[in-house]
């Protein structure tokens, strides 16, 4: 339905009429008019309200929590509810006592569990991102070069698994990778192996899990960059006698770099802190920082150390997050050209 028809349609009129009626009724009340005049004189307009509502929501429920995490990472554990000591205490009349306990952070550095977990998480996330790129790039490329009718169907098929439960899809891999699971049974039936290949509870299973779950996040940015590419460049290269593979390496690949960076960051950053995949598919020795944080919090009930782990993880991820924001900003600016 075109916008003009929608605007003049009975439904569109009713939408606006309802709001207009409410506003007109409110105008009858002096208190409302007075408030409105006051707010306008302060420079607060409808525009400010539009910005302010989500702004304050996010400030309160997104930014402030991080500050609290930082604060508690400096606190000491105590057996109480909540299980940490208050940071600021009034001792005497007006003297504020600040107890900064950096013991938690020292603990992180001393106990090898933590920095091994950080390094392992980065390694696992990095390898998974690379594998995801290797699997996702050909698919994104094939979809971007398909003809338009097929493209929408194929995109829908890429996105469809994303709408089903992430937890259940990871669960599916348990049944496939088990010792008497789908793959092992199939290979045994084919006669290729006698002993089942141990795949579950290994780092390999975590790679498979991450690649599988985050594949749509890799394909979509790649597709959107590849789709915008100017195909006449490839035609020109062919005219000049360039082989297809070389044309790909020198033209397509560099031009698709923004999509590669965006997709890689969209996979890498959440993968570092993943919990579900290592918990379900990994084994006890697969050290991932998400699992460590969870255990620290739920099993050890050690909130200060968990907060210290979270703070360190956040600092670790600041660089990739900034990279991603820059890549997204560049893409947004490019779209406006």
């Amino acid at each position: 339905m075109n916008p003009r028809a929608a605007a003049e349609s009975p439904r569109g009129q009713r939408h606006s009429a309802g709001i207009q009626l409410v506003l007109r009724v409110l105008q009858q009340f002096p208190p409302y008019r007075w408030t409105q005049a006051r707010l306008l004189s302060w420079g607060v307009s409808g525009r400010t309200a539009v910005i302010a509502i989500p702004y304050f929501w996010l400030l309160l429920f997104f930014l402030v929590p991080f500050i609290i995490v930082l604060k508690i990472s400096f606190a000491e554990t105590q057996i109480a509810m909540p299980p940490y000591q208050p940071l600021l205490q009034w001792s005497g009349e007006k003297i504020l006592q600040v107890k900064l306990n950096i013991g938690n952070f020292l603990y992180l550095v001393e106990d090898s569990l933590y920095w091994r977990a950080y390094l392992n998480s980065i390694k696992v996330a990095g390898i998974s991102t690379l594998l995801c790129l290797l699997v996702g790039y050909p698919v994104a490329y094939a979809i971007a070069r398909a003809n338009t009718t097929w493209r929408n169907v194929l995109l829908m098929m890429v996105i469809l698994p994303f709408w089903t439960s992430f937890l259940l899809r990871v669960y599916a891999w348990i049944g496939i990778l088990k010792n008497n699971g789908l793959i092992n049974n199939f290979l045994t039936w084919l006669g290729i192996i006698d002993q089942p290949i141990v795949m579950l509870q290994t780092d390999f299973a975590i790679y498979v899990g991450i690649v599988y779950s985050y594949l749509p996040f890799m394909i979509l940015p790649l597709y959107s960059t590849l789709e915008k590419m100017d195909l006449t460049l490839l035609e020109a290269a062919a005219d000049l006698g360039c082989r297809p593979f070389k044309a790909f390496m020198t033209i397509t690949l560099p031009l698709s770099m923004p999509g590669v960076v965006a997709g890689a960051m969209l996979v890498f950053i959440p993968a570092v802190g993943e919990f579900v995949i290592p918990a379900l598919l990994g084994g006890p020795e697969s050290l991932m920082i998400g699992k460590v944080l969870w255990t620290e919090f739920f099993s050890n009930r050690d909130w200060p150390v968990a907060s210290a782990v979270a703070t360190a993880l956040l600092l670790l991820l600041v660089v990739p997050i900034v990279l991603l924001q820059r890549a997204q900003g560049a893409e947004a600016r490019g779209a406006h050209k």
């Binding site: 997104f62 929590p65 490329y141 829908m156 698994p161 439960s165 960051m265 997204q328």
Partner: protein
């Protein structure tokens, strides 16, 4: 026009085939083995629907499912409201003070590992409980607030990108004719971006329904969501009634996607027809 670049080479076909097989075989295996007679989820012993019966008699799962659906619906509605406001601000209001912080805050939840957001929100709720006395104890309210904070990021991205590609000549025409911004928004902009809002609602709904980590951190006793119940069952091993649950969810999603596809195709046809009529009879 079929240029060399548009040809379906064997490489591309095999890339697509392998990619989609990789994506869909696990889902199909879930469905196939939900009908398996034996408990072993990987050896086929016969067709049976007993696991579906078991699933519908499982009180714990049904209660958790109902709770999750309620939370997801409330969360999606709130996220759409907040996300539309944020998307509008980012797309239309140009530079305002604090815009960079605002833009960062709205997109950071998208990539932040959920363990961090879950932990930080729990600590916030505990601190708020100490200082203000609200929220007292954790449960449905805290889960809903946490999910809204996460999913509004997705809605913001959707709305922002939709508004930035929107041709604002209609809105400018309305302003020239003297309409106030509120009226313009509700009468013109909102109907046009309605499909984006609907897909944002569905996305927020799905993400909330499926979230495990954040819900585990901020939930309280007696408010177990469906993913929490599934996770505790699945940690102990494979369980065919979970396969049955998975098949039902896949069915709903597939039906939903097909309906959405049909509706969009129909809308596209209607749009083409309107444009033709406008071009032919508009004089």
């Amino acid at each position: 026009m079929s240029t060399a670049a548009n040809r379906m080479t064997p490489f591309r076909i095999s890339a697509l085939a392998f990619g989609f097989a990789f994506l869909y075989i696990p889902i199909l295996s879930l469905i196939v083995f939900s009908f398996n007679k034996s408990r072993l989820v990987t050896v086929w012993t016969g067709f049976s629907t007993e696991w579906y019966g078991r699933l519908f008699r499982n009180e714990q799962i049904l209660n958790a499912a109902w709770l999750s659906l309620k939370i997801a619906a409330i969360n999606a509605t709130g996220a759409v409201i907040l996300g539309t406001l944020a998307g509008l601000a980012l797309a239309r209001f140009g530079k305002f003070t604090g815009r960079t912080v605002f833009a960062g805050m709205t997109t950071a939840p998208l990539v932040m590992p959920e363990v961090i957001t879950g932990l930080s929100l729990l600590l916030l709720f505990v601190a708020m409980d100490q200082v203000f006395g609200w929220p007292s104890g954790r449960g449905v309210t805290t889960i809903t607030i946490a999910h809204m904070t996460l999913t509004m990021a997705y809605v913001t991205v959707i709305v922002q990108s939709r508004l930035s590609t929107l041709d604002d000549s209609l809105e400018e025409a309305a302003m020239d004719l003297g309409a106030r911004p509120t009226k313009i928004f509700f009468l013109i902009t909102l109907p046009i971006i309605a499909p984006a809002l609907i897909s944002g609602w569905l996305l927020a709904f799905t993400i909330s329904l499926d979230d495990l980590v954040i819900a585990s951190f901020v939930s309280g006793p007696g408010s177990s969501t469906l993913p929490m119940v599934i996770f505790s069952k699945v940690r102990l091993g494979v369980s065919p009634d979970i396969n049955a649950l998975a098949s039902i969810m896949v069915l709903f999603v597939t039906v939903g996607v097909i309906i959405a596809g049909i509706l969009m195709a129909r809308q596209e046809k209607r749009r083409q027809r309107d444009m033709q009529m406008a071009a032919a009879g508009g004089k």
